[in-house]
Amino acid sequence: MKTGRITTAAGSFLTLFALTLLPWGEFKINRVARGIPIQAMGFLGWAMWTTSIVVLLLIIAVIRWKPRFFNAILSWILLFLPSLGLILLSRYIPDGVDFDPKVARISLGIGFYLFYVGILLLLSKTAYPKLKIFLSFLFILAFAGNMDALGLVREYRNIEETFLRELSRHLTLALFSAMAAILPGILLGYAAMRYPKAREWIFGFVHVFQVAPTLSLLALMMIPLTALSKAFPFLADLGIKGIGFAPAFIVLFLYSLLPITANTYAGLKQTDPAVLENAVALGMSPRQTLINVWFPLTLPSIFAGIRTAMTQNVGNTILAGLVGGGGMGALIFLGLSQSALDLVLLGTIPVVVMALILDAVFEVVEVGTVRKLGVDYDQNLRVE
């Protein structure tokens, strides 16, 4: 209950703070120019601004005194506020500034972001928080057509045709490279457990890739891959070349090994020896012990490793954009090369959202699978 109250207080504070003091965006006369900050009062106008503060104060009062009513009805209305704010913001036209409406744009500022975070905090302690958070984001996407003046929308319009293609390329690259690492990762973790002498070698191997900067690893990968594809042309036909998909895939695969290997090893190591002794006492062969006892008990830990690998991979895949592998990185680096921060954001936001969705989906899969195998999650964690 107490954390709930702190969260609500923080959410109330952030939303009010954003509405009163912080700039919600910047009005830019072109893509790169320095913008004119836009306060909430500026784009809402006096009357609407005062109303929205009063309404917000009322909502906060309801949360405090009538939490049930807030939970059941008001919180669902709250989801609309960020998208509503954006629509109004994108209508803003500054006084006395000479600009070309086809070129001028509004970039989002700290005020909007903190307002959104505040709303999410208010929603997070109600029923179905994840659904509501997802819906609030969905509404922003749904109403994007009414936010033409936003820099993000402008940038999207420019790359509409390629956006989805790059997005799916990004996801494919991130997911498949992590999936390819699952089996080798588990085997390496098991080998490290089984053969203590090899342990340092195995962990040295997987750590090297984690420490090496991704970009230099990509560059290093190009040389042998190019030589390979030249020596064996059939490899080139399969798409294994020094540039593009193959080096990105291999590097991401190597990155995914560490979390999976380390978690498998840690999980195996943590298993209660008494449980294993019991298994032997019951007459189980070593293989039976491994498959029926050890592996299921380690599964939650392995899953956590796979989850880390997947989420981390979604972020790392950005670098594929530099080596012709495509993905969101292609947008981000193009934006950086032109100091077009809206384009950089347009590439970054989907990466963050993908990572969050993936994490949430994986949580569901994880809990489901572990239950199916008959291991009680909590009990396993409580093994002493």
Binding site: R31, K102, R105, G242, I243, G244, L322, A340
Partner: protein, 311 residues
């Protein structure tokens, strides 16, 4: 009679064979790739649209990657047609590029790179644009007027008088004999470390923003000739009468194998690139990088306006 039949048969067979040769069953589409910048988007779009208009199928790989990646991709047959800059030949054939003076000459630099790429790599440089996308130093218009700076001689005098000066530039320009070091030698000045802000990348957008905003006291920046920022941000290029940095003319560069299949590409692209003057490229770059217009639209508009495409 038998003979005539046989001759006719052979004739028909030859005819069929010729037809088959003239139109191979499958012509692979041309993979067009460019660098990660606004010029790469615009010139790439022009190439795509011109080829498509002439019935050549293409694959769009614009904004493929960094310059070195793009070149590697071309050499490894990963892409077929790219946009590159003539001065880059010094990095592609360092063992032959022993005479640095040829890079300051638009014709010699092009011919040198063209010949070596053709003979050693089976890569063909088509007709370049006349717009020199070379490295220069830019200052704000106000600064130039206040201090009477027009060319590098003036700037050297200003620096040597010990007045406030801070240049933001890329590492490769700062450490290059055909870059800052060459400027210092030719015009007789020397910048200290605290007069320099060196960025690892050659991304001038950030530098020009710093110059325009005066961030950290920056009052000079590296700039490329075709940059659209100059006019938009009220900046001036400091003239370089001794032509120190290499000449960089953008040109379509194509693999020989692909040019053999589509020899017409040479003539399709020639008039387009010949039409691209420095001012034209600056305007086009500004429309994309600063006005945020769609590169495909900007390219199409230019091609139609100049009569290369029908409306």
């Amino acid at each position: 009679m038998k003979h005539i039949k046989r001759i006719m048969l052979i004739g028909v067979a030859t005819l069929l064979l010729l037809v088959g040769c003239a139109k191979p069953a499958q012509k692979d589409p041309v993979v067009v790739a460019t660098m990660l910048d606004s010029e790469g988007s615009i010139l790439g779009q022009m190439i795509l649209q011109m080829l498509e208009d002439n019935g050549i199928e293409t694959v769009n790989k614009l904004n493929f990657g960094t310059p070195d990646i793009l070149r590697a991709a071309l050499e490894n047959d990963e892409v077929d047609l790219v946009v590159d800059y003539t001065g880059s030949g010094q990095y592609y054939h360092p063992e032959d590029a022993t005479d640095p003076t040829i890079w300051n000459d638009p014709v010699k630099g092009y011919e040198f790179t063209e010949k070596l790429d053709r003979e050693k790599k089976n890569i063909y440089w088509l007709t370049p644009s006349a717009a020199n996308n070379t490295e220069s130093i830019a200052v704000t218009r106000d600064f130039a007027q206040a201090n009477g700076i027009e060319d590098m001689e003036d700037l050297a005098a200003y620096i040597n008088a010990g007045k406030d000066f801070k240049l933001i530039t890329s590492a490769s320009f700062a450490e290059n004999q055909l870059g800052l070091l060459g400027f210092e030698e030719a015009y007789g000045f020397k910048l200290t470390n605290d007069q320099l802000i060196i960025l690892s990348s050659g991304n001038t957008a950030e530098m020009l923003l710093a110059l325009s905003n005066g961030t950290n006291g920056v009052n000079a920046s590296l700039v490329y000739g075709t940059d659209g920022a100059l006019d938009k941000m009220n900046l001036l290029v400091v003239a370089d009468p001794k032509h120190i940095p290499p000449v960089y003319l953008p040109a379509p560069v194509i693999r020989g194998d692909v040019l053999d299949v589509y020899p017409e590409i040479r003539e399709i692209l020639k008039p387009v690139f010949e039409s691209l003057t420095l001012e034209a490229l600056q305007t086009l770059n500004a429309a994309v990088a600063y006005d945020g217009q769609n590169a495909a639209d900007v390219a199409e508009e230019y091609l139609i306006e100049n009569g290369f495409l029908d409306e």
